[in-house]
Structures are given as structure tokens and as C-alpha cells.
């Protein structure tokens, strides 16, 4: 594999100003993406920091004529997919999944259903958590597509450019993601438009 180390940005005021502007403009959006990809604040922080450090190191290589946003999200989204693949979210454990036994068998979990008592009042407060759990159940590359499209609002073509995959793949992953989310969130969708 050929690796070319780009020239590191110096403390030149131009580099610093460009980076600061970029963080001011896209920081919160990158955090949102990170949060929805990772599912918790601690991991989202790590993702954002790693991504922005990488952006800073490659700041010199960005072509000012090219779309900065696309470049930025390409770094961020791909890094998130990589990191989340290498480190599957240990904190998320589906309650529906059977528990594996040391002998290799599996037994169903026995968990009290909190909704049984609390009902409607709590439902709204837990909406976010429910949707987030459903997102986390998706594979990272599928999750990235649905987060970029439905939460961040990018078009298929923009997402294809960011993730460097064909538009057809964006389309099929997005459809897969929405169907899986619809199945998991069925109880949330009844009565919605």
C-alpha cells in the first residue's frame, strides 16, 4: 500500500483560522452524526476528536475548489464506520436477543417490561432512546447511510460521494435501514402519518 504523508499544517494563522472556521461551521453537525452513529456521549466525543484530528492533519491536502463539506464528511463518516466496526458497541445489548450459554446454546432473556406500568407518559421521553437503539441495531455502514440521509438531510448522490460507494448502494442500504427501523419501531409508528 502506498502511503504518502501529507505536509502537516503549521501554526500558520491561515491554517488555524481555516480549521477554526470549519469547526465552528460543521462541529455540531459532526457531533450529531457521531452521536447517532455511536449512541452515547462518550463514544461520540471520541469519534469527533479523532475525526477532527484527522481533518487537521489533512487540512493541507484539501482542494479548495472541491466541496469542503463532502471531503469533511468523507473523512468523518468513513472513520466512524471503521472505528465502530473495530469496536462494536459493548454497551448495547439487545433485550430480544437470546443469551448465549457457555455450552454454546442460547436461552431467552427474562426482562421485566418497563412499559407495562408506565405507559403513555414515559413513551415520549423514551422515544429518542428507542429510535437510537433501533439505529444501533443496524450494521455501521447501513446506519451511516440512514443517518446521513434522514437526520443530516443529504441527497443520495452526496452520500455516495462521502462514503465512496455507488448511488445504487446508497439506495439499497437506505431502504434496508428504513425497513429494519420500521420493523423495530412498529409500536412507535402506529398512528403516525
Amino acid at each position: 500500500m502506498r502511503r504518502r504523508t501529507p505536509p502537516e499544517p503549521g501554526t500558520a494563522p491561515d491554517d488555524v483560522a481555516a480549521f477554526e472556521a470549519l469547526v465552528a461551521r460543521y462541529g455540531q453537525r459532526i457531533y450529531t452524526l457521531a452521536y447517532r452513529m455511536a449512541g452515547n456521549e462518550a463514544d461520540a466525543r471520541d469519534l469527533v476528536q479523532e475525526a477532527l484530528i484527522r481533518v487537521w492533519r489533512h487540512l493541507r491536502t484539501v482542494d479548495p475548489a472541491a466541496a469542503l463539506e463532502g471531503w469533511l464528511y468523507r473523512i468523518v463518516a468513513n472513520l466512524f464506520i471503521d472505528m465502530l466496526r473495530r469496536r462494536p458497541p459493548a454497551r448495547v445489548d439487545s433485550l430480544d436477543a437470546p443469551v448465549a450459554t457457555p455450552r454454546g446454546g442460547a436461552v431467552p432473556r427474562e426482562v421485566a417490561d418497563p412499559r407495562a406500568d408506565l405507559e403513555a407518559a414515559v413513551l415520549d421521553r423514551h422515544l429518542d432512546a428507542d429510535v437510537q437503539a433501533a439505529l444501533l441495531a443496524l450494521p455501521a455502514d447501513v446506519r451511516a447511510v440512514v443517518v446521513l440521509c434522514d437526520i443530516e438531510g443529504y441527497s443520495y448522490e452526496e452520500i455516495a460521494g462521502m462514503l465512496q460507494i455507488p448511488v445504487g448502494t446508497v439506495k439499497s442500504r437506505l431502504h434496508r435501514a428504513r425497513r429494519a427501523l420500521a420493523a423495530r419501531l412498529r409500536h412507535r409508528l402506529e398512528g403516525s402519518p
Partner: protein
């Protein structure tokens, strides 16, 4: 297109990402197919649920942490690499010089005797000169001779 293939186009139809031709085909199919209309409603509901999600606010201190590892970190970031290099170079120098330094030390120790030999020879040679202080030279010679014979010097005895 078959029902199966058409149903896979529903997300893209919802997003207006189909070609005019495909869109027309899906629209015609939807008019006839209850299952696909149902599915479209569900996909739409999922999409609007995701769009309505509140934006998680980035923690206040995050940007400071990012800055300290980027724009403010450079001098510190470069330092360790150079320091490691300097320490490594110093270690190499020490290792290479060690045998040479040892021999020099041995020679210096041997010189304790060498100096006395030199002083005595020089004093003996100078003693013949017209204005030489013979008394002092005599003292030097006897002192050097005593040292060579192994008698400790006065200052060492103290």
C-alpha cells in the same frame, strides 16, 4: 417491474430520487397494490420520526479538547519525536565512546606514576643549568623518587 422489484424502489420514490420513468411506474403500481401503499406509509413514518429527532447538543468542553489536540498541540506534538531521536543519538554516542573512555581512564590512572617519572627526569636534566635552584630541584627529585618507590605523598597522608 415485478412487485418485488417495485417494492424496493419505495424508499427512493419517497425521497424523489427515481428517474421520471421509474417514478411513473411506481405510482401506477401503488394505485393497484395495497401492500405497497402500506409499506410506503411505514417508510414515510420512519423517515419523519428520524427527521423529528432532537439534535444532541455537543458538550461545551468538546471543542476546547479538540483545539488542544490540534491547533494548540503542534509544538508539543513535534517535540516527542525529536526528543526520542536525540535520546537515541546520545545513547549511540555513549555506547560507541565507552571503550575509548575506559582506556583513557586507565591511562590517566597510569599517569599518576608517569608524572613522577617525568618530573624526576626533567629535574635531573635541569640541575646542570647555570641558574637552576639546585636545592629545590633536589627536593623535587627526592619527592618524585619517594612517590615512585611507593611512599604516599604528604597531602594524601592527611
Amino acid at each position: 417491474m415485478s412487485h418485488h422489484r417495485l417494492s424496493r424502489q419505495l424508499s427512493a420514490y419517497l425521497d424523489g430520487e427515481l428517474t421520471a420513468e421509474d417514478e411513473q411506474e411506481v405510482r401506477e403500481h401503488l394505485a393497484r397494490c395495497e401492500a405497497c401503499r402500506d409499506e410506503l406509509r411505514q417508510l414515510q413514518a420512519v423517515r419523519s420520526l428520524l427527521r423529528r429527532l432532537p439534535e444532541p447538543q455537543a458538550p461545551e468542553d468538546l471543542w476546547g479538547a479538540v483545539r488542544s489536540r490540534t491547533v494548540r498541540a503542534l509544538p508539543r506534538r513535534r517535540w516527542p519525536a525529536r526528543a526520542v531521536l536525540a535520546v537515541a543519538a546520545a545513547a549511540v554516542v555513549v555506547l560507541l565512546a565507552l571503550p575509548a573512555v575506559r582506556t583513557r581512564v586507565d591511562r590517566l590512572r597510569a599517569a599518576g606514576v608517569g608524572v613522577d617519572v617525568f618530573v624526576r627526569e626533567h629535574a635531573l636534566a635541569t640541575a646542570g643549568e647555570p641558574f637552576a635552584d639546585r636545592a629545590y630541584l633536589g627536593l623535587l627529585i627526592s619527592d618524585a623518587s619517594a612517590a615512585l618507590a611507593g611512599v604516599p605523598r604528604e597531602e594524601e597522608r592527611r
